[in-house]
Symmetry: C2
Subunit: 216 residues, 2 copies
């Protein structure tokens, strides 16, 4: 699971689903009135249900709203806010009416983004294992900048962003993109300014938790 | 809404989502043990939630399990059974362990199939409006075979099946199809033997309900 190639394969798989689901969501309206409140209610009930079926038993699946022991992520707050303020309004046709909407699609996208970003945990474990000494030294000095530099691989990041742009073009083309949104740029930006930085924040947070204290 | 071109556009949109979602589901395992029972529980809770947000206020959205006035469809039973016996086992890697699974994906696919098939209602309304006299005469004679013949457009059905096959090839290619399933044939068969016949059953049932009784 923590082999970097296996993890990359998983991330690439999630990529397709994220791109397709967001473009597909863009074909539908959403009612701006009470959108956040209603989505929160829908999401909470979904999570209560998902929890019964052990959805949150894997480390990368973290709820947005329900309380579970050792399952909290402030990054999910960022994801939720970004979704309702930057993703949905950019891709959907906004209506003022309280129309029927399909919150299942929104919950699905929120889960996908959260899962993708929190998979940074596996990336961090793998990177730490392959370069333990250097990481441990930076961690013990609480050197966040140093850790960030060490775990940053700009060549890979660029390759991801390019690949995402190409996929977005293909899927947008398949899915009759009525609003003529430039999804190639949209997804390149989404990965560049949101998904990749937050994934690295997850990686950093995990690594900082490995600090060897005085009592160890 | 009941213009045949608008309806066809909606059906084509649903097509992409159905094809993508099923191929994507095929990349994940599912636990054969208690699959139907668990999916039923998950689906029921989802529907209770969706109902709060008026998901079932449109005629083509019909619940599988919760009771709503004038919202019953025995065709949903067929869809559920077909999904758990013919779709999931054919595309997923089956495990005997009670693994964590993602029922959200299953609920999503069930909803898509149900929505696609029950959109036959709009097709029937449109066809009836454009050829009222002939339909009414067959309806009043309870001539199911005659109605079925009149509403069958083999050329369009063939075109749909061909288009679905082509799309399935593209999406399967995008989505790293590990199990080497021939999704082109899979989806052509799914539409030919399942989606199209059930859609026509919905059309027929609606038309038969238009019988002018003695009291009218």
């Amino acid at each position: 699971m923590y082999n970097l190639d296996t993890i990359r394969k998983l991330l690439i798989e999630l990529e397709d689903t994220i791109i397709f689901s967001i473009i597909e969501r863009g074909r539908h309206n959403y009612p701006i009135e009470n959108f956040a409140t209603n989505l929160k209610i829908f999401c909470t009930t979904y999570e209560q249900n998902a929890q019964i079926f052990d959805y949150f038993n894997t480390p990368e699946n973290i709820p947005f709203f329900i309380d579970l022991p050792n399952k909290k992520s402030i990054i999910n707050d960022e994801i939720f806010n970004y979704y309702i303020t930057s993703i949905a309004p950019q891709i959907c046709y906004i209506t003022n009416h309280s129309l029927t909407t399909d919150y299942l699609k929104d919950v699905n996208i929120l889960n996908l983004l959260s899962k993708r970003i929190h998979s940074g945990l596996f990336v961090a474990i793998s990177k730490f294992q392959s370069d333990t000494e250097r990481y441990q030294s930076l961690i013990d000095k609480n050197n966040s900048n140093g850790i960030m530099t060490l775990l940053t691989d700009l060549k890979t990041e660029d390759a991801v962003i390019e690949r995402v742009g190409k996929k977005a073009e293909i899927y947008a083309n398949m899915l009759n993109n009525y609003q003529n949104i430039n999804y190639k740029n949209f997804f390149k930006k989404l990965y560049f300014e949101f998904i990749i930085p937050l994934t690295k924040e997850v990686e950093l947070n995990y690594l900082l938790s490995l600090k060897t204290g005085l009592d160890s």
